[in-house]
């Protein structure tokens, strides 16, 4: 009878028969005997796992099983296995299992990590890392800017808008031209924000470095670590030789990924230098987890910290080598190495004396203070801090200025005769005046400032009129040759007076003087060296007085003094002011500025008794110095 016939016979007779195993039988049966009995007959046999079997197996049982079974086993990684492992797979697996896991930093660990090591580590890990800015973040950071922009609603007034627009065009052109000077801090703001967030988390005591867009892992602190629940029976990966695997952050995540793959891969040892910590915690279903990103440091710390804490790898403490330099031949990973500019000659990872990941070693690091402030102090010189726009500038400035003024006269008739108007128009002409004053400048914030002070203005007007039959007397010396007698000639130099008659063009300078208080709001922009500003405001007249001559109704020229001025007001009221300034920094506390401006007086300077209405508008170029009153 061939075996096959016998099997069929037995199967038919005993298919549903169950014979109880005598008590103690299994104990008497040695594994060797069972293995010898089974032999190779089941080597290639595949049996389906009964439903619910996996659920009945606790992770601890699986871990213990694997720990006891394959703790000493070393299997070589098959050729090409690492290459087949995609980072995304690894990341997805790790993110799924340990994304929210936080492992405490062992006491004294940070103290053993030198700042330079940390810098090199972070630099090499995050050199090319960019985190997207969450939507709405900037709006939350710059709420005041929106408020400031509302001020420009006055531009909807057509006249003001045209004027300001013309000024803005020039200013914008200059701004664009100068943009490279002050645009550089803008991208730095994004980087620093990321850096800032990360450091904040560090300083909070967390041992993970979490990207800005990651949820705080502390909220899911290792309550139900997947490491402790996932077991893979029959998978002994306690000793996985990996080329330089744990020496770099990148390799650490590779390690974890490879372990995941190893679960179904043949184990053959040919790179056995690393006895990896307990990898058996990885669940069998992790391959299908999402590809959510996770920071490298997460991988690093979570990949080593938790299994060690479980105390399963006491026998493997010495198998974790110190982090060593990345192999120069490992060109595939060189792009991750970042050497900070302030440590250009520093071999970053090569000198990190990373201790073996043992329970004892990690405990040595506990209680050590994270010296992130030292780190920050080293790199702050390389960081251009973003301006804090919510913090108003508290500086005070004083301005002293003077300006040549060019005056435009506005004139309208009330009751004067045509002859009077013609003569007045022919004999009057405006001349250059001047304004000088001092102002106190208070910056409201980085761009807006308010100015006020006191200024003296003098508008000059030339009165040119002709007077007839004017006698000009000139002292002359007349030389005469007089012959008193033949042979008696004398030359006489006589000093006398020559009179000439003619008409004279009389030039009288009328002076219209005033003392005013300007109240000006300015908006300035630019860089520290050159700033451009748009200023607008009102000018309140305190007092006005006049000297010179005036044409009376009989067309005669009569003098006009402060005491007898019946024609002009002693207070001309309020005027509007607009100007565009260019400020150049001369020193830390001294600026020079040039400000072309225009002043429009709202009311007439003539009184009701005057036969005409008249007012002046003034344009000028203020040149002055701005002093910082907060000078130390």
């Amino acid at each position: 009878m061939i075996d096959n016939e016998f099997d069929n016979f037995v199967n038919g007779k005993l298919k549903d028969h169950e014979a109880p195993v005598p008590a103690g039988l299994w104990d008497k049966l040695k594994d060797k005997q069972f293995d010898d009995f089974v032999g190779d007959s089941l080597k290639d046999q595949t049996a389906t796992v009964p439903d619910g079997l996996w659920d009945k197996i606790a992770d601890a049982q699986f871990d213990q099983f694997l720990g006891n079974t394959i703790s000493e086993y070393t299997a070589p990684v098959p050729d090409g296995l690492w290459a087949k492992l995609a980072d995304a797979n690894f990341d997805a697996s790790v993110q799924d299992k340990i994304g929210n896991y936080i492992a405490p930093v062992p006491e004294s660990l940070w103290g053993k990590v030198a700042d330079a090591q940390f810098d090199a580590f972070v630099g090499s890990s995050l050199k090319d890392y960019a985190a997207p800015v969450p939507e709405g973040l900037w709006e939350k950071i710059h709420p005041e800017e929106k408020e400031e922009r509302r001020i420009f609603y006055f531009l909807r007034i057509p006249a003001a808008a045209i004027f300001i627009f013309a000024i803005l065009m020039g200013g914008t052109a200059a701004y664009i031209w100068l943009k490279p000077h002050f645009a550089s801090p803008i991208p730095a703001t994004t980087d620093i924000s990321k850096e800032h967030n990360r450091q904040a988390i560090d300083s909070a005591g967390n041992t993970t470095i979490t990207p800005d867009n990651q949820p705080d892992p502390a909220s899911n602190a290792n309550a139900n670590s997947p490491h402790t629940n996932s077991t893979v029976p029959g998978k002994d990966v306690s000793s996985i030789p990996v080329l330089n695997a744990p020496n770099s952050i990148e390799k650490k995540k590779d390690i974890l990924t490879s372990k995941d793959k190893i679960s179904n891969a043949p184990l053959s040892g040919n790179q056995a230098t690393l006895t990896v910590v307990n990898n058996s915690h990885l669940p069998a279903t992790k391959k299908n987890r999402s590809n959510a990103s996770i920071s490298d440091r997460d991988n690093h710390l979570n990949g080593f910290g938790n299994p060690i804490a479980s105390g399963d790898l006491s026998a493997n403490q010495q198998s974790v080598p110190p982090i060593t330099s990345i192999d120069s031949t490992d060109t595939g990973n060189n792009s991750y190495i970042y050497t900070p500019p302030y440590q250009s000659n520093f071999l970053a990872i090569a000198t990190i004396p990373f201790p073996p990941f043992t329970v004892t070693g990690l405990k040595d690091l506990s209680g050590k203070e994270l010296t992130d402030y030292k780190h920050a102090s080293q790199i702050k010189s390389n960081i251009i801090c973003p301006s804090n726009r919510s913090n108003p500038n508290t500086d005070w400035f004083a301005e002293a200025y003077a300006s040549p003024d060019f005056t435009v006269k506005s004139f309208s008739n009330v009751s004067a005769s045509q002859q009077y108007l013609l003569k007045k128009d022919s004999i009057e002409s405006m001349r250059v005046g001047f304004t000088a004053g001092i102002r106190l400048v208070k910056p409201i914030n980085e761009n807006f400032l308010i100015k006020t002070g006191i200024q003296y203005s003098q508008i000059n007007q030339q009165y040119l009129y002709r007077t007839e039959n004017e006698i000009k007397t000139t002292t002359v010396v007349t030389v005469r040759t007089i012959v008193r007698a033949p042979g008696d000639t004398v030359v006489i130099a006589d000093t006398s007076v020559l009179q000439q008659i003619g008409y004279k063009n009389n030039i009288v300078k009328n002076r219209f003087r005033s003392v005013d208080v300007p109240v000006i709001i300015g908006y300035q922009f630019g860089n520290e060296d050159i700033k451009f500003g748009i200023n607008a405001g009102v000018i309140f007249n305190l007092s006005s007085w006049y000297q010179g001559v005036i044409l009376d109704t009989s067309l005669a020229i009569v003098p006009l003094t402060k005491s007898n001025s019946m024609v002009y007001k002693t207070n001309i009221g309020m005027g509007l002011y607009a100007g565009f300034s260019v400020t150049k920094q001369l020193s830390e506390d001294l600026h020079i500025f040039f400000e072309p401006y225009f002043r429009y007086n709202l009311s007439n300077m003539t009184s009701n008794q005057s036969p005409y209405n008249q007012k002046f508008s003034v344009g000028g170029l203020s040149i002055g110095l701005r002093f910082n009153l907060n000078k130390q």
């Binding site: 008193r484 007076v497 009179q499 063009n505 030039i507 020193s587």
Partner: protein, 345 residues
């Protein structure tokens, strides 16, 4: 640092250059052709020179009377200082004057202009000089007789007119009759006869004098001269001054505004009735007169008319010596003031 200095310096420069200087207010534009601005001397005094206008303003008072020259002798008295007697038929018309020769019928007009004071000589521009020689005058007259037709008459040949006049000064014993020599033809009216000179009568005998009580003013004694006038028009009782004294040529220099066109200059002797006209000298732009005795006490008087304005200047020379050039600075004066001054000389 240089950049800062440059910026500040440029700013200050801009500020200061903005202060544009106003043009001077003392300059005048002279009127072209205005007499005051005319400082040009001419070689001869032009007839339209404003100095000629002075004749019309300085015209002395003229005695106008009438008498019948064809009948009997006529004696006309004017107060107790002047009387003139015309013999019958002494006045005749002459064809040279455009009249009818012969004794005119009816009344004729008598015009007498008396040169009583130094100022009268100046106002009539009749200095007491005879061909450059100085005269001392006792009195002078301009006597003119006009026919009823208005034609100027002359004295008949051989006829004389007896002219008795008193003098304000003491009578000098050696006065002689002098007649005025005018430029022929006479200059137009209102033009100074710059060629006028006194010519001594051929009868060089001394004039007779008289001394009588005044018929008007009580016990006053009137001293005077009697001239037998042989020629009408300008006649005077004068004498040559001492010819033995050393003489000098004096010069009056005036400011440029005063030229020969608008100015006349006289030298008035303070102690005698001698008036010398300083003639304009083109070459030296001055006014000059010769034969002025050294040691004379004289006064230089300038009278100018520039435009509508009158100017007068004086210069007293108490003792003419070696200094013979005298600058004078006339000043503007009113006509009345000038006449008053001249009358007071």
């Amino acid at each position: 640092m240089k950049k800062t200095v440059f910026i500040i310096g440029s700013s200050l420069l801009l500020l200061f250059t903005a202060c544009q200087k106003e043009m001077s207010t003392n300059d005048i534009t002279i009127y072209p052709g205005n007499p005051l601005n005319d400082t040009i001397w001419t070689r001869t005094t032009p007839s339209n020179g404003s100095v000629n206008d002075l004749v019309n303003y300085f015209l002395p008072q003229v005695i106008i009377d009438s008498f019948d020259a064809s009948k009997s002798d006529v004696t006309l008295s004017y107060g107790d200082s002047l009387s003139i007697s015309f013999p019958a038929g002494s006045c005749v018309g002459t064809s040279a004057n455009g009249g009818t020769p012969g004794v005119p019928s009816g009344k004729v007009q008598l015009q007498i202009l008396r040169l009583k004071t130094k100022g009268d000589y100046i106002k009539t521009f009749r200095p007491t000089t005879s061909n450059g020689y100085l005269l001392e005058a006792a009195g002078g007259f301009f006597i003119r007789i006009l026919s009823k037709e208005g034609k100027e008459l002359a004295l008949a040949p051989g006829a004389t007119v007896k002219l008795s006049f008193s003098d304000i000064d003491p009578v000098k014993p050696n006065m002689q009759a002098f007649y005025g020599k005018e430029t022929y033809p006479l200059p137009a009216n209102s033009v100074i006869d710059t060629g006028f000179t006194w010519m001594r009568d051929t009868d060089t005998s001394w004039l007779s004098t008289f001394q009588r009580p005044s018929t008007i003013s009580g016990n006053a004694i009137i001293n005077g001269y009697t001239i037998n006038v042989k020629n009408l028009r300008w006649v005077a009782a004068e004498r040559y001054i001492d010819s033995t004294a050393k003489k000098a040529k004096i010069f009056a220099i005036l400011p440029p505004n005063f030229t020969n066109q608008n100015t006349a200059v006289f030298a008035v002797f303070m102690n005698q009735k001698t008036i010398v006209n300083l003639a304009p000298e083109y070459s030296s732009r001055s006014f000059t007169a010769s034969n002025i005795p050294i040691g004379s006490k004289i006064r230089l008087i300038t009278i100018s008319k520039i435009g509508d304005d009158f100017y007068m200047g004086t210069k007293d020379i108490n003792d003419l010596g070696t200094t013979t050039i005298f600058p004078i600075s006339p000043s503007k004066m009113g006509l009345t003031d000038i006449l008053t001054y001249l009358n007071s000389l």
